[in-house]
Subunit: 489 residues, 2 copies
């Protein structure tokens, strides 16, 4: 763990200089920096979000926040510091997090008696206060979400949105009277996540359970949504955990039931982070930069006025009318009226930033009463009547959203392999990557051996088990579960 | 600095048991806890926000966020950890904050090379990255806001929203090409704050400059909004600072001008925190609890169905219709349909929570085609035709908002004293409290002596200087400024 002021180069963002297919990792870093999403912070492992990156996070947050509230959740606030004694109250949980916890030991010049953890996750802190608030069945269910950051010291190289020592996320924590209610909550949240990720981010996922080795430390079970990135590696997009009574017992979250008896409560926790932005970049981006799905793009349509000096006023006025008309129709439109850049420069910049739809407006378009649209995803151009502006923009945005999802779905389907032997399994992991669907006997030993051999672990035991192979790919015994293995971020 | 699990009592919130006029401090604490705004966290000095308290913060945040965006600001994200070398780059700034900084010295079991500060404020971190982003006049102005928390170790007793070691706030940071533009920004923000505080929170303020002793460490000057609490103490509601080039020079924030020369940029920073919630409580609350101005109340109208078992369905159905009709009209309405509480219990609870308007709905109201409204601020009841529901609700909400502001304005006016002698000054501070408007020679020595004698400091040098007394209240020399002294939170 070291810190030191980073030294990124100054200067205008130029275009992306590597191909996505040739150096995926370098391509990713360039997109993040040059599209103005994020930058490195002075302390190694930490990043700063620039306004464009934060605006994407705001889109994601607003959509989820609305859904959480519609389903009876409310937001709260928890401090970032947790005393060591509290963090260690659930033993497995503490053992899981302690290697990566940042510790505060001083305030001003004074040493602090008991050292304080920077929140790696808030179960322990939340549940110590929930125990005070819950006394009766009348206080249940309690369903609170927190929009904050979590801190976990990363020793590997920083990868913005994917591997950072502090990340933006939301963590939901709920308390229920019965095990079944908690189970229902786990699935409700997983459904909200799936809808968000597939229908807004246009990233298809496979949902199911984590194996016991991979579940959240302290959970009875963990459900997950796994996405596949363009380089063939998996990315866990979100998780929703059934905590059973594993925390309510040490934290004494008890309620007096209608039966006038005391019961320990049942709990869930769940979260998604700014990793979702990392997924967006890796799944949809291309050699020119970011490609954003319209549903979450901070700017859905950019209007670039193209003119010589003599036409400047006319073209800008008409472009401003277009911007206003689109905005009134609820479309996030932006006119780039800057004089200090050429239109070619602007085209490159907005392509790099992944704006789904561009309108080029010149004097001839105005004469002809037409508007020219350029799609970011297919590069297709389309001229249409100025009078149909809003309808055409809306229908193109819908098409782009659909196209991005269906392209990503096709890629996912092509990259789910079903090897017949362990040798084939190893070869796929080594050469092709992607998701590998096999039978698994359910023994941790086989899971561990495969991981040691190949670097692939069980990403998910899919809910959909209808294609379960009969034998364990490693030991050949009867399989208990279909499992998807992959190398992962 | 010690930490330890707090031991708040369990059990249902009962009513407030002390009068606001008799024990203001205990009254405040009871309102915070019993209205369900906040609770103590496990670490001394820290609090947790419960959903009702966080919803008020969301109201404040959403209003400001919209105004910031309308005036060309965007949001970003900065990490919570700042290396010591960076925090100390502007000397006065560092000296001002260092006694209260929390320090991270360990990650897992490893000691960290250079210790890391938990953000007491983000000037240094923000400006180290701004320096990378700004190269040309084309990059200016840069206007970024951050919604996050700041951490400053408090050694005095915790007072929720007013004195806590971590607090929710926003910090805005802007960079401009000229001094005048920065000056204009300082005033634009102060105007947004004033509008928010007076017209939404219904808390009147006096605006002006801080003295050099009281200004932000590192600023050229600080502008402030000072409110007066019901116990006669002042509360600083927000500040907006002109940083001149005090940070741009050490952080090398330079831009190439249209003149092709390099210039150091001009900067501002500004912020408000959840103190605003503390002010709301102290200014408007009464012996029954919170009184919320409609503009920021999470629930503006609560509907309590009153019925025996036989009428339950009818009354609840009609109450639900009222809730829906109000919601469709954009009013934040909530029907309390819980069967496990009596209507008397509900009246008390919603009064304690400060909901501005209550509708009591019983079978006789339904028969008569009327609705009964009860105002939280005046306790007045009003019956009106069911058909006029939305209009009546809206006009009552407007009246309540106005009434709260005018009551608070009257209180403020009554509590601005203008003593003729220093003896009178001391007596006012000791006995009546409030704002004391006097002449000041401008010397720090007089300011300091008055503070030592009375505990009152200069809260604000008002923009409005038309009533400036001729002599300094302490030394009798010619006064340079009218100054408002007060004891403060």
């Amino acid at each position: 763990m070291s810190s030191g002021v980073s030294s990124q180069p100054r200067g205008e963002a130029a275009g992306i200089t590597v191909k996505k297919s040739e150096d995926f990792s370098e391509w990713y870093t360039q997109v993040v920096l040059k599209a103005g999403l994020a930058d490195y912070a002075p302390v190694k492992g930490f990043i700063v979000l620039r306004p464009y990156g934060y605006a994407i996070w705001e889109s994601i947050r607003d959509i989820l926040d609305r859904r959480f509230k519609e389903t009876g959740h409310q937001n709260g606030f928890l401090p970032v510091l947790i005393p060591e004694s509290l963090l260690s109250k659930e033993e497995d949980h503490f053992a899981g997090f302690t290697p990566e916890v940042f510790w505060v030991t001083k305030a001003g010049d004074n040493n602090i008696g008991e050292k304080l953890a920077l929140r790696p996750t808030s179960e322990t802190l939340a549940y110590s206060v929930f125990a005070k608030w819950i006394t009766s069945y009348r206080d249940l269910p309690l369903k609170i979400n927190f929009w904050n950051t979590a801190l976990r010291a990363e020793i590997k190289a920083t990868k913005p949105f994917i591997r950072t020592s502090e990340f933006l996320w939301q963590e939901g924590h709920t308390v229920h009277a019965t095990e079944e209610e908690a189970e229902q909550e786990v699935m409700t949240i997983l459904g909200i996540y799936k809808d968000m990720i597939e229908n807004y981010l246009a990233v298809p996922v496979i949902t199911g359970y984590k194996s016991d080795t991979e579940k959240f430390v302290g959970a009875k079970y963990t459900t997950t949504l796994e996405g596949l990135m363009a380089d063939g590696k998996a990315l866990q997009m979100g998780t929703s955990h059934h905590l059973a009574q594993n925390f309510s017992k040490p934290f004494e979250i008890k309620y007096l039931g209608k039966d006038t008896k005391e019961h320990f409560a049942w709990q869930t926790s769940w979260g998604v982070s700014w990793r979702l932005i990392g997924a967006l970049i890796m799944v949809h981006g291309d050699d020119k930069g970011l490609v954003l799905p319209p549903q979450i793009a901070p700017i859905q349509v950019v209007i670039v006025p193209i003119h010589k000096d003599k036409d400047a006023k006319l073209v800008k006025d008409k472009a401003a009318e277009i911007e206003l008309e689109l905005k009134h129709a609820g479309i996030r439109a932006y006119m780039d009226s800057r004089d200090e850049y050429t239109s070619g420069w602007k085209f490159n910049e907005w392509e790099m930033k992944g704006v789904p739809l561009r309108i080029n407006l010149g004097p001839r378009d105005i004469e002809k009463g037409q508007v020219e649209f350029v799609r970011r995803d297919t590069k297709d151009k389309k001229q249409d009547d100025r009078t149909k502006l809003v309808d055409t923009a809306n229908s193109l945005l819908v098409e782009i959203q659909k196209n991005l999802l269906s392209k990503a779905r096709a890629f996912l389907q092509e990259n789910i392999s079903r090897p017949a032997s362990y040798d084939e399994f190893k070869s796929i992991i080594e050469n092709k990557g992607g998701f590998v669907m096999v039978g698994w006997c359910g023994q941790e030993e086989c899971e561990e051996k495969i991981k040691q051999d190949t670097g692939a672990d069980i990403r998910v035991l899919p809910f959909d088990q209808k294609d379960r192979p009969g034998k364990c790919i490693y030991c050949g015994q009867d399989s208990k579960k279909a499992a998807i293995f992959a190398r992962a971020y």
